[in-house]
Structure formats: structure tokens, C-alpha cells
Amino acid sequence: MPDRPRLTREQIAQRAALELPDGAYVNLGWGIPNLISDYLPAGITVYFHSENGILGMGRRARAGEEDFDLVDAMKVPVTLVPGASFFNQADAHLMTRGGHLDVAVLGGFQVSEKGDLANWKIPGAKGSGGIGGAMDIASGTKTVVVCMEHTTRDGAPKIVRECTYPLTGLRCVTTIVTDLAVIDVTPSGLTLREVAPQWTAGEVQQLTGANLNFNGTPPEMHLK
């Protein structure tokens, strides 16, 4: 594997933040996606949705201002922005499953070339695993961005022809942002849109378990 720096988790979040259009209603999943709210570009306003019944979540609560009836889906005390609203869990998921949100950013263990997502259970892991809101969100949201490392700790590709991990949803992923690339899922397969600084498209292809389409030299990943 080439010995060159990859994007940090924060940089993946920073790049994924650029996928959020102004005014969008957005759900952020566990892991890297949860960092995105710190990296919204200037001039962009988005409304964060939480599956426990909040639209218009603001920043995390500071020490002393926490209210434990006002937490995000990761149980972290948060604040609200002006115009926020509360509702019950069924309506929160009516928003996800019913296609009312604009973008969801989820973590991932594997994404297939057809856009299948596996993100809730690692085969052989101890315990029950947990689905949470991921299947509803993946099923219904118009644009699903997955943030993850390009390969596992052992160097195996996480972008594959067919997922081998338990699935979250079929053909649900729109775009993948990794520490090496931005990749779009299209009807004709995966398109390599951007490549991390100092990496080549060929090197990214070698670390990917499915074919990547690209013309010439894809541009460098846009960070800030």
C-alpha cells in the first residue's frame, strides 16, 4: 500500500460537509458523519434532524447548559437553532423513510458497486448488534452519503462488488467520501469524482474492490 498520508476522520467530515446544499434537512449518523456539523462552509445553513424527534439541532451543549431531555441520537446533549421543532419517533422516521429529508450522511463498513450498504453489524462480532434508524434512513432519504475509511485496518477494500457483511439496504448509497476519494454511485457503476492529495486514480483503484470509472485525471479532493 502506498505510504502516503490519507485524510483524517476530520478531513473526511470536512469534505462530506461540502455535499450539503444550502437549506437542506440533514440526518447525520454515528461515527465520522457526527463530526460534520463542525465543518459547514460559511454561508451554508442546514437543518439537522435527529431520529428521536428533533428538527433544527444546534451545536453540542456546553458544560453547564446540558439538558438530558434534549439529546441527539448518540445521547449527547445538544442545543437548538431558531425555528427548531420536536415530534415523536414515528414522525421522525416518517421524515426519513418517507423521503422528506434531503441528505443523510451515514457511516459504513462496506458499500457495493450498486450502492448496497452494510453498516450495522460486523460478522462474527460479539453480541446482538443493533440496527437503530439506519435501515429507515437508508431506504427513504433522497441522497445518502457514506463516510468511511477506504480500506479496513487490514487493508481490505471496503468498496466492493458485493457486500459480504449484513446489509442495511439495497441500492441506497448516492456518494461515498473516504480518506482517499469521492466516488459517485451511478446506474453504470462507480465514478471516481475526486482523489486525495498526493494519490493517483490508479492507486485508489488498486485499493478498491470494484471497478472505478473516470476520464483522464480526476481532480484533487476539495478541502475548504
Binding site: 424527534g53 439529546v71 445521547k75 446482538s128 448488534g129 435501515m135 446489509l167
Partner: protein
């Protein structure tokens, strides 16, 4: 007229039998009926069929019931990172679980509340949760049949009740509570405050009194996770 207010929490749950199907509200530490759960633990009810988003947080929330081995089966969406008592019982095969996507868990309870006998959804198609479920194609979309989830009892948490049982919830602490209130035969609510009938503005009622059968004021444990 039947009095819904119970002055003692143990009396409010005295008739919950062994083997009861029970819903428990709460999410992310907020809106859990912790005092009712503790009372159920004291009472010693066994072989509970539980329905809840998660499976306890250490000894808190449903954790105490798993610790005491009182739950035999649970329908849940996200057991949670601190559901150690549940995970131990699961490993020992003392409890079984049906994992359900969170929004589908909500809708299956709503279907029970609404007198619907099931519904089709694309959520879970091609995944483990589709196993054994009827699949068909509607509007060109693969979907699976999901069945209602009923319960004998719902234990829920609200901020305020009037004497009739009209409820309001605080911030994001409503989560599953209003849904479960509608889906169970007998809904028992613990509240911070009981106010005279008529003092909650009708426009502000979040769960209408028709869904609430027993009310108990319980200020003991607010956050147990």
C-alpha cells in the same frame, strides 16, 4: 367515573402478570419510565415479553430487569453500547431478541393502535430483517409485509398529566412514549406533575386522555442511564 390517579406506584402496576407483553418508552436516556420499571423489578414479574427501542443502560432503564433475568424476549431496534446485562443474558440463551428497524418498530406499534393488520415497506428488503416475511412488488418496488405489535401494558413517561390523563412531554423526551400510549391495552404513565383537568390548553395536549389508563406522579429517578 373511574379514577386514573394512583397515589402509590406499586398499586398502579399490581396486576401486571408474569408473561405480560409490555412496551417501555424512552430513547437516549430521555423519557424512560424509570420509576415504573423499578417498581416492576420490586414486584418480581417474570417472563416479560418486552418491546422497547433499547435493552438498558448498565443497571438503568431496562438494565435492572435483564440483571434480574425477568425478560424472556424483547423486540428492540438498538440494544445499545451499555446493554451489558442484556448481552450476558443473550449469550447465556436466557433471552431472545427480534431486531427491528427503528421506524418500522414505530409503525408496527402504530398499526396496532390504528386497527391495521399490517403494512408493506421497502425498509429491510434484502437484509436479515426480511427473513421469513412475505415479499411482493408494489409500484415496481420490492417490499415486505410487517405485522402490528400489540401489548398488554405500556409503561411511559410524560412531563405533565391532567386528572383525566391528557399528557404533555418535554423537549425530546417524547420519543416512543406517545406511540406506545396508543398501542397498549393498558397504558400507565409516570409524570413529573399532575394538574387539574382543564389546566392543560387543549391545543397543547400531545397524548389525548383516551389513551391513558393510569397515572402516577413519580419524581424519584429521572435519568437512570
Amino acid at each position: 367515573m373511574k379514577q386514573k390517579i394512583f397515589s402509590h406506584i406499586d398499586a398502579a402496576i399490581a396486576d401486571v402478570p408474569d408473561g405480560a407483553r409490555m412496551m417501555f418508552g424512552g430513547f437516549g436516556g430521555a423519557g424512560f419510565p424509570n420509576n415504573l420499571i423499578q417498581a416492576l423489578a420490586r414486584k418480581g414479574t417474570r417472563d416479560i415479553f418486552a418491546i422497547s427501542n433499547n435493552c438498558g443502560t448498565r443497571d438503568g432503564e431496562l438494565g435492572i430487569l435483564f440483571k434480574l433475568n425477568r425478560i424472556r424476549h424483547i423486540i428492540a431496534s438498538f440494544p445499545g453500547p451499555h446493554s451489558n446485562h442484556f448481552q450476558e443474558r443473550l449469550a447465556a440463551k436466557e433471552v431472545t431478541i427480534e431486531l427491528v428497524p427503528q421506524g418500522i418498530l414505530c409503525e408496527r406499534m402504530r398499526a396496532a393502535a390504528a386497527g391495521l393488520l399490517g403494512f408493506y415497506t421497502a425498509v429491510g428488503v434484502g437484509t436479515e430483517v426480511a427473513a421469513g416475511k412475505e415479499e411482493r412488488v408494489i409500484d415496481g418496488k420490492r417490499c415486505i409485509l410487517e405485522m402490528p405489535i400489540h401489548a398488554d401494558f405500556a409503561f411511559i413517561k410524560a412531563e405533565k398529566a391532567d386528572e383525566l390523563g391528557n399528557l404533555t412531554y418535554r423537549l425530546a423526551a417524547q420519543n416512543f412514549n406517545p406511540i406506545m400510549a396508543m398501542a397498549a391495552k393498558t397504558t400507565i404513565v409516570e409524570v413529573e406533575e399532575i394538574v387539574p383537568t382543564g389546566s392543560i390548553d387543549p391545543e397543547s395536549v400531545m397524548t389525548p386522555a383516551i389513551f391513558v389508563h393510569r397515572i402516577v406522579q413519580a419524581k424519584g429517578i429521572r435519568y437512570a442511564g
